[in-house]
């Protein structure tokens, strides 16, 4: 075969890919012998894989948090008839959730396992979500307040 017709990249890839495949043809005994002979450790490899999984988990959490914040931002731009004080809002939220426990568990995030721990600044957001979901009727809520 002349140089002009040879594809060295392809040839090198074929050679290395064959060597790669051959590693999976080795028995566990052969692998252990090689590892012992070369003093190979696999701690670093497991560490790389472990960290990669953690990165994926973190990325998912960040994305979920972003989606939540986007949803809250979208709700903030809408007008809802909410009670004026935080305590009244919290009472309203507790009243709704007591009569609809399934709604509460669906709304809970990883950060807040219990609505009693919900920070004041997040109470309006949860109420707005309930309005948006149609769990509470805007007119009725206004009527309750009045």
């Amino acid at each position: 075969m002349s140089d002009k017709t040879r594809n060295y990249e392809q040839e090198l890839a074929s050679l290395m890919n064959n060597l790669a495949e051959s590693v999976f043809e080795m028995s566990d005994d052969e692998v252990r012998t090689e590892m012992k002979k070369n003093g190979d450790s696999t701690d670093a490899v497991r560490g790389i894989l472990r960290q990669a999984v953690k990165d994926c988990q973190q990325r998912n959490l960040i994305e979920a948090q972003q989606r939540y914040e986007e949803r809250i931002a979208a709700l903030s731009s809408k007008k809802f008839s909410l009670p004026e004080s935080i305590q009244e809002m919290r009472d309203m939220l507790n009243s709704i959730l007591t009569s609809n426990p399934a709604v509460g568990s669906a709304l809970l995030t990883a950060q807040h396992r219990d609505f009693s721990d919900l920070p004041d600044e997040e109470v309006p957001g949860y109420l707005k979500q309930l309005f948006e979901l149609g769990v509470i009727d805007d007119t009725a809520a206004m009527g309750d307040d009045e």
């Binding site: 594809n7 060295y8 990249e9 392809q10 040839e11 090198l12 890839a13 074929s14 050679l15 290395m16 890919n17 064959n18 060597l19 790669a20 495949e21 051959s22 590693v23 999976f24 043809e25 080795m26 566990d28 052969e30 692998v31 252990r32 090689e34 590892m35 190979d40 696999t42 490899v45 497991r46 790389i48 894989l49 472990r50 960290q51 990669a52 999984v53 990165d55 994926c56 988990q57 998912n60």
Partner: protein, 208 residues
């Protein structure tokens, strides 16, 4: 050719492993399998040569996990394939696409594109795909690396023949058949070859 759409191997979401299952699978990988995965990644990267664009075997291992965790990319069929073989397949697919210069988002698992025709025969479009035209610098680097390996095996006739067969694209079983050698003879040469190629790489790294 008419393809049977029902025979697509794309994995339904409900059969894909969850993040927790992937994490548990990483923890349960044996030392031997971890060693195999690392070596596999290293050889695949060496096969890519300069097309790796600075990426190393650790990047390939990371990318295989990232792709497995991403529901839009390469799901692991936990009930059908062992984790180590899944990762091996993903690394093969990703490294092939790195070499071909494809966008990683467009990369697909080989098993995703295999179809079965009406007569039950498997059709793999990747086997018919043309290799990209070689880049002159990458081609020169590959030529030099091959030349060095050929020098190393020159005094070992059987190993030289095996390397020749691999360069031509023959598989291990085809080489054994063509050369008329036993599995033991083949494995002995492969063992020597892996060690020789690895030592050459180590020497090259120590000179950098």
């Amino acid at each position: 050719m008419k393809l049977n759409k029902q025979a697509s191997r794309r994995l339904p979401p409900e059969k894909a492993a969850s993040l927790e299952e992937i994490s548990a699978a990483v923890e349960s990988l044996s030392e031997e399998d971890l060693w195999r995965l690392e070596k596999y990644a290293r050889y695949r990267l060496r096969g890519i040569g300069r097309a790796a664009m600075g990426r190393d075997h650790e990047d390939l291992l990371r990318e295989a996990i990232a792709a497995t965790c991403d529901p839009g990319r390469r799901r692991w069929n936990i009930g059908a394939v062992s984790f180590v073989h899944h990762l091996k397949g993903v690394m093969r697919s990703i490294s092939s696409h790195w070499r071909e210069g494809f966008n990683k988002e467009e990369a697909v698992l080989e098993t995703d594109v295999i179809r079965t025709n009406e007569s039950g025969k498997e059709i793999n479009p990747l086997l018919d795909a043309e290799s990209p035209l070689p880049d002159p610098e990458r081609e020169l680097a590959a030529k030099e690396e091959l030349s060095q390996i050929e020098k190393l095996v020159a005094d070992r006739p059987l190993a030289a023949l095996i390397v020749g067969g691999m360069r031509e694209g023959s598989s291990g079983s085809e080489i054994k058949q063509i050369l008329g050698i036993s599995q033991t003879e083949y494995e002995t040469e492969m063992k020597w070859l892996r060690r020789t190629v690895r030592d050459k790489a180590r020497k090259a790294e120590s000179h950098v």
